[in-house]
């Protein structure tokens, strides 16, 4: 079912929405500045609605089905949060209103800061960064500011494990540092020897993802942290995988100095087809003064029964990361999620996330090679080629679509050949996991029976396999009309 583009549907002079008459005297618009046609489409309201409704039906979301996209934590997002984030007292509030008129919003932000601090064991959290990657950049700029302040401005390298998410090295570069890649060892952990070798007075720190992107908890995290701290470096934690650890352990307690949270992963705010997310950063006491601002503080003053909340900038703040206070709409959803779960629910969530991942790992081990034979955390990576075949991970992924599932993450981390990174999350039930296992086994059988056939998958999707090479060659990135 092909849906024409907006421009194909458009007809001159049609307009969806009437706007009111001008109720004031008109002023002269400076004609030398005025433009001719803009070139926007013109459609009726029913056309617009049908267009997007049909497009939506060509899209797959968590609400459609199982979405075991590793590293992305595609958990189910409670529907009530969507209602709450839309309450006029949240959605219709201007960021520059005087603080007295937005105490509810500030209290929510303060409380979210406090809860994140408690969950991850940090001295202070700033909510501003707009996504995980911006949280990373924030942290790197904080490390830079901190080192300058303490007179160690010469530190210019950051260690990044080879299994790290691509945003890590990219953020390092944006933060003005040089990346030094550290290899993983055969248990999937960071190679401590390599870290040791890099420990010197040029080392600003390490970016650590724990559990790492193989889904494994760094076995020698204590030693690793000690090593880095020992040479004056800082340990940054990529919190994208916090879903495995809530209520189970606190990154701050593990010695991590700085970490970003992905509210859109761990704390159930929806991914929105690629965003918005929200990437608050937590910091240990020494780094806390460098957090971006403003953050919310509770003042000593009270207004009636409520303490007064204020926006302030941390003492040595690196400054501002976004135009206003961060993605407040996501804060409401994350706050609601935290209140729905509480300490108890957070631990249950982590435990079930880990249980589900291990269940899948064990069920799939017969047909798919597991490069690391260990209990995994909330996700695991297997080799994409079913045992005894030379099928590509991509073919398995495309074929999964025909079984009604969204594929796992492909080709990441780079350290595993034809990686399929599978993260079921805690919101899936056993029936769904079992159905996925059956599909993966069937695909393995198909791969053995007729390896070529999988190359044509998918068959039951709105379009067949798309030619990405052609897209990059033609570079048609907007519609000619």
């Amino acid at each position: 079912m092909d849906e024409p583009t907006l421009y194909k549907l458009s007809a001159d002079g049609r307009s969806s929405v009437a706007l009111p008459e001008c109720d004031v005297d008109e002023s002269k618009i400076p004609s030398r500045l005025m433009r001719d046609a803009i070139g926007l489409p013109e459609l009726s309201e029913p056309q617009v609605v049908r267009h997007y409704l049909r497009l939506s039906q060509l899209n797959y979301g968590v609400d459609t089905g199982f979405y075991p996209l590793g590293s992305c934590t595609m958990k189910y997002n409670p529907k009530a949060s969507e209602i709450w984030a839309r309450l006029p007292g949240f959605s219709q509030v201007h960021p520059l209103q005087d603080p007295e008129s937005v105490q509810g919003a500030l209290e929510l932000m303060f409380d979210l800061q406090e809860q994140l601090q408690e969950i991850a064991g940090f001295a202070r959290v700033a909510l501003q960064p707009a996504a995980g990657a911006q949280g990373e950049l924030t942290a790197l700029l904080m490390i830079r500011a901190y080192n300058r302040w303490r007179g160690e401005g010469q530190r210019d390298t950051i260690l990044v494990p080879d299994s790290a998410h691509g945003t890590n090295p990219a953020s390092v570069t944006m933060g003005g540092y040089t990346v030094v890649e550290v290899p993983s060892n055969k248990t999937g952990d960071v190679d401590l020897e390599a870290v040791k070798a890099a420990c010197n007075d040029r080392l600003a720190g390490i970016m650590l993802t724990n559990p790492n992107t193989l889904g494994l908890f760094e076995e020698r995290i204590g030693e690793l942290v000690e090593l880095v701290h020992g040479c004056g470096g800082l340990v940054y934690g990529d919190g994208a995988n916090l879903n495995a650890l809530t209520g189970v352990t606190r990154p701050g307690d593990l010695g991590i100095d700085l970490m970003h949270f992905n509210l859109h992963k761990t704390f159930a705010t929806p991914h929105g087809g690629g965003g918005p997310g929200s990437g608050p950063v937590g910091a240990a006491p020494a780094l806390a003064p460098f957090l971006p601002g403003p953050v919310v503080e509770r003042s000593q003053v009270a207004l009636g029964e409520h303490p007064v909340y204020v926006l302030t900038s941390p003492e040595q703040s690196i400054g501002r990361m976004v135009a206003f206070h961060g993605n407040f709409g996501m804060f409401v959803r994350a706050w609601a999620y935290l209140r729905l779960l509480g300490a108890e629910g957070l631990r249950e969530a982590a435990m079930h996330a880990v249980l589900n991942a291990n269940y899948l790992r064990v069920q799939l081990a017969e047909d798919y090679n597991m490069p690391f034979d260990r209990t995994c955390m909330h996700e695991f990576v297997c080799e994409g080629a079913p045992k005894g075949t030379s099928i590509r991970a991509l073919d398995v992924s495309k074929r999964l679509m025909d079984y009604g599932f969204h594929p796992p993450t492909n080709y990441f981390p780079l350290t595993v050949k034809e990686a399929l990174m599978i993260e079921p999350t805690e919101t899936e039930d056993k029936e769904t996991l079992d159905a996925f296992v059956r599909a993966m086994r069937n695909i393995a059988a198909e791969a053995r029976a007729d390896p070529h056939a999988l190359r044509d998958a998918p068959h039951r999707t709105p379009v067949g396999r798309l030619d990405e090479v052609k897209a990059a060659r033609d570079l048609i990135v907007s519609e000619e009309t």
């Binding site: 969806s16 005025m34 617009v48 797959y60 690629g274 729905l340």
Partner: protein
């Protein structure tokens, strides 16, 4: 399930974690059910004064524009908002096509050739544009010349981002003589000139000839713009801008205490490989049917890692979808009409306010045409006026410029959009009359 993996308890799954820090007791408030939490959140939300409760003239980068009902209807489609970045195009044609259409409409609106599929907000779009210029300019350049009338928070974000580079911001604070004058400050060290139009105080910059000067020095012209302004006025693309950025909140996104918003980012085709973030391209499937995919992923961190054009991963796709539905619903004529209404109403308000004894409008230099927003110089300090407006008159006044610009404590930035009726404007005027009397 535990037995299937050969374990006796859930706790056993976590033996890799050092025992001394395992299973902490978190001190969090007790969990609440959806039913109770609903009460709680409604109570909390009522402690914020919502823009729905009465007139508001607060803008300064976040505006109250009409959002057609179609927008939220589309945003609430679970297939859209619970999906991830469309890495698997065969299951994501809906979002991909919507983003392709968004890119097209943004190109038209800005007069540019390529648009990405969103950045976080206007400020981070600008920061990335600056990084693009530092990277793309001829030779090694470390200076960014910026108009003092760029939104102060945008400038702050650029400042932060530049801390990761050896480049710096040169803002002509002393006295601003307009874009052309500013462009003359550019030298061979300068990577870009950054202008905003309408600028932070609402004034329209005359961009004529600026790009020539800038390009002659081998620098890039970056323009921050208000997308609503583009409904009526010539886009920066027509004046030779190299990158156009904007905050897209005005296009169908609620204020939401400032976020999430949408960063618009459009540039020239020649910079396509330096573009930050996602880009959707058209292609074909195995049977020759049209389809869409993310393309030029080679710019991105998951391929290029440390050499990526930027670290952005999660963007603001849903915001871009909102903007697309908003633009499609308003259409060519609607977008123009919104701009016209903003123009006329803000001019009406400015004229009425300038009649109030003691109030002056737009006294800052250089004098220019304005759009949607203007500055009132008051005989008393703006903070007091704003507080009294809200408490005594139920009106959210403008923005106290003293909060951003030192020495401007008696100036208030006022935004008037199509949402403000004449009655509301008259109410503001009457209230100001009484307050300054």
């Amino acid at each position: 399930m535990l037995s299937a993996i050969g374990m006796g308890s859930l706790e056993e799954l976590f033996v890799d974690i050092p025992a001394n820090v395992r299973f902490p007791e978190l001190r969090l408030a007790a969990r609440l059910t959806e039913m109770d939490l609903d009460q709680e959140l409604r109570k909390l939300s009522r402690r914020n004064r919502s823009l729905e409760c009465g007139p508001s003239f607060l803008g300064a980068g976040c505006y109250r524009h009409f959002i057609p009902a179609t927008v939220d209807y589309v945003l609430q489609r679970g297939e859209f908002y619970t999906s991830y970045t469309p890495y698997q195009p065969e299951l994501s044609q809906g979002f991909l096509q919507a983003m392709f259409e968004y890119q097209t409409m943004i190109c038209r609106l800005t007069g540019m050739e390529v648009s990405n599929a969103s950045h976080y907000d206007g400020a981070t779009s600008l920061a990335e544009a600056v990084l693009l210029a530092l990277d793309a300019g001829e030779g090694r350049r470390t200076r960014i010349v910026m108009s003092p009338y760029v939104h102060p928070n945008y400038r702050a974000v650029v400042d932060t981002y530049l801390k990761g580079t050896d480049s710096y911001l040169d803002v002509a604070e002393e006295r601003y003589d307009g874009a052309i004058a500013l462009s003359e400050r550019i030298d061979d060290e300068t990577a870009a000139l950054v202008l905003q139009t309408p600028h932070f105080l609402g004034g329209i910059e005359d961009l004529t000839g600026v790009a020539d000067t800038v390009h002659a020095k081998g620098a890039l012209l970056i323009v921050v713009v208000d997308p609503i302004y583009l409904g009526l006025f010539k886009p920066p693309g027509d004046f030779g801008a190299d990158v156009v950025v904007a905050d897209g909140q005005a296009l169908g996104i609620t204020a939401s205490f400032g976020g999430p918003s949408l960063g618009i980012f459009a540039t020239r085709r020649k910079y396509i490989r330096r573009l930050v973030g996602r880009l959707v391209g058209q292609t074909e499937d195995s049977e020759g049917r049209r389809g869409f995919v993310l393309t030029l992923a080679t710019r991105e961190q998951h391929i290029r890692r440390a050499k990526a054009t930027s670290n952005i991963c999660t963007n603001s796709a849903l915001g871009a979808l909102a903007a697309a539905v908003d633009l499609a619903t308003l259409g060519e004529r609607g977008v123009r009409r919104v701009a016209e209404l903003c123009f006329h109403k803000s001019h009406y308000a400015a004229a009425r306010i300038s009649e109030i004894p003691g109030c002056a409008v737009n006294t800052q230099a250089p004098r220019s045409e304005f759009f949607k927003e203007f500055v009132i110089t008051l005989p008393v300090d703006a903070a007091t006026v704003i507080s009294r407006l809200r408490k005594e008159y139920g009106v959210i006044g403008g923005y106290d410029l003293g909060r951003s610009l030192p020495g401007n404590d008696n100036r208030m930035l006022v935004a008037v959009t199509e949402m403000n009726t004449r009655k509301e404007i008259d109410r503001l005027v009457a209230a100001l009359h009484q307050i300054v009397a």
